[in-house]
């Protein structure tokens, strides 16, 4: 692609936003704002959770473009915010198309958090939630360990490209197993509080929230896609946890927690 097309720029900015977890109306508004700033004629764009359709007339030539992408769960707010900033600057007329492309390239290269930091964050988050939902500090400690295991496992499956369905199912089963094992070793007090804390990393909070936002903005189709996503993920977690609890319960000889 030539790096001077404003249409292409608008399109790529929309792509970055969508991939990193922005809601539909933001993608649409940003693309329209950029198109207006560079005076693209008859610009039309339609955005779905997993596709962007855009057409516009640029220098007398009609361009049509479309994109499909696989719905990914990698949320990156840093990039969303950076694109937002860029679009505001473009609207103020501060960048040429080439400059904007260069900045967009930098935005794309904003790194993810390093693994050790992510592991600590996940562990601390799990421990905190375990406490907030009524666990003791011993429960929080076990949830901390489960959080470490979970984030490492998620990193590994992310590299392997395991499907989302299977990832949620297996990782919720794994944390339950981990929590139950530690509990049977005499650590922790309540299995339920430990697991509630540990699965919070998997719970579809992002899908739920974005789905709500899409619905209230009138993007019903995208909202429905995300809502289904949230329900499926929630169901997967419930199944993963439930099966393991049941098995452990049978193996442990019917002890009720």
């Amino acid at each position: 692609m030539q790096n001077t097309s404003a249409l292409e720029l608008s399109f790529q900015m929309g792509e970055v936003l969508l991939k990193n977890g922005a809601e539909i109306s933001r993608v649409q508004e940003t693309m329209e704002r950029v198109a207006r700033a560079y005076e693209i004629d008859t610009f039309d764009v339609y955005v779905l959770t997993n596709a962007i359709f855009a057409t516009g007339v640029e220098q007398g030539v009609e361009h049509a473009a479309r994109l499909k992408h696989i719905p990914s769960t990698t949320i990156h707010f840093g990039r969303i915010q950076a694109v937002n900033q860029l679009s505001r600057e473009i609207a103020e007329g501060r960048h040429s198309v080439e400059e904007a492309f260069a900045i967009l390239g930098e935005v794309r290269a904003i790194p993810y958090s390093r693994l050790p930091l992510a592991v600590v964050a996940c562990a601390v988050g799990s421990a905190c939630f375990s406490y907030l939902f009524g666990g003791t500090w011993r429960d929080a400690l076990v949830a901390f360990v489960c959080g470490v295991v979970l984030e490492l496992y998620l990193y590994w499956t992310g590299k392997r490209g395991l499907s989302k369905f299977l990832t949620n199912l297996s990782s919720s089963a794994l944390v339950t197993l981990c929590g139950a094992a530690l509990l049977l070793c005499g650590l922790g007090d309540n299995l339920d509080k430990i697991i509630i804390g540990s699965i919070i990393r998997l719970v579809p909070g992002v899908a739920l929230t974005t789905s709500i936002r899409d619905f209230f903005n009138g993007d019903y189709l995208s909202g429905a896609i995300r809502l289904l996503d949230a329900l499926l993920v929630g169901g997967c977690i419930a199944v993963g946890v439930g099966v393991v609890v049941r098995i452990v319960w049978l193996l442990a000889g019917g002890v009720v927690w």
Partner: protein, 149 residues
């Protein structure tokens, strides 16, 4: 004593929300705001529960409060609302409901599974209404400075 406990829990909610901001790669300079959003949401949740409201009502009011503060931060920091909203919502998302539903379902306790499942969906709807209502309000409610920049 109750107030002290609430304050400590709010602090824990702050820390956990910051932890989630890291997981979602939020820029470092927004951590204070995302943490505050989560803490406010949890505090409202606790107070509503303490006043005798159920989990559904508490989730609703907490969602309203934290969406409100997300929008205030969004204008003050010139950042998308999503950043604060999603990080802050995590303490409210019904993880406990999902767990108990799965637990009772696989323990063959059908009536309990059904009631916890319905409760979970109710909480989700309460959160949805809370967020939706506040997001639909006109922007004038949230700008700290008077209009005109």
């Amino acid at each position: 004593m109750v107030v002290l406990n609430w304050l400590f829990q709010t602090l824990v909610a702050f820390v956990s929300t910051v932890a989630f901001s890291i997981i979602f790669h939020t820029p470092k300079r927004e951590w204070l705001c995302t943490g505050t959003t989560g803490a406010v949401g949890w505090l409202v949740y606790l107070v509503t529960m303490g006043l005798g409201g159920g989990t559904v009502a508490a989730s609703f009011f907490a969602a309203v409060a934290l969406t409100w503060i997300s929008r205030v931060f969004s204008f003050a920091r010139r950042a998308p609302v999503t950043v604060f909203l999603i990080c802050g919502i995590f303490p409210l998302v019904p993880g406990a409901g999902i767990y108990y539903t799965g637990y009772h379902f696989f323990m063959s306790d059908n009536s309990l599974a059904l009631s916890t499942g319905l409760e979970t969906i109710k909480i989700a709807i309460a959160i949805a209404l809370g967020i939706g209502i506040v997001l639909s309000l006109p922007r004038g409610f949230f700008t700290l400075r008077r209009e005109g920049k």
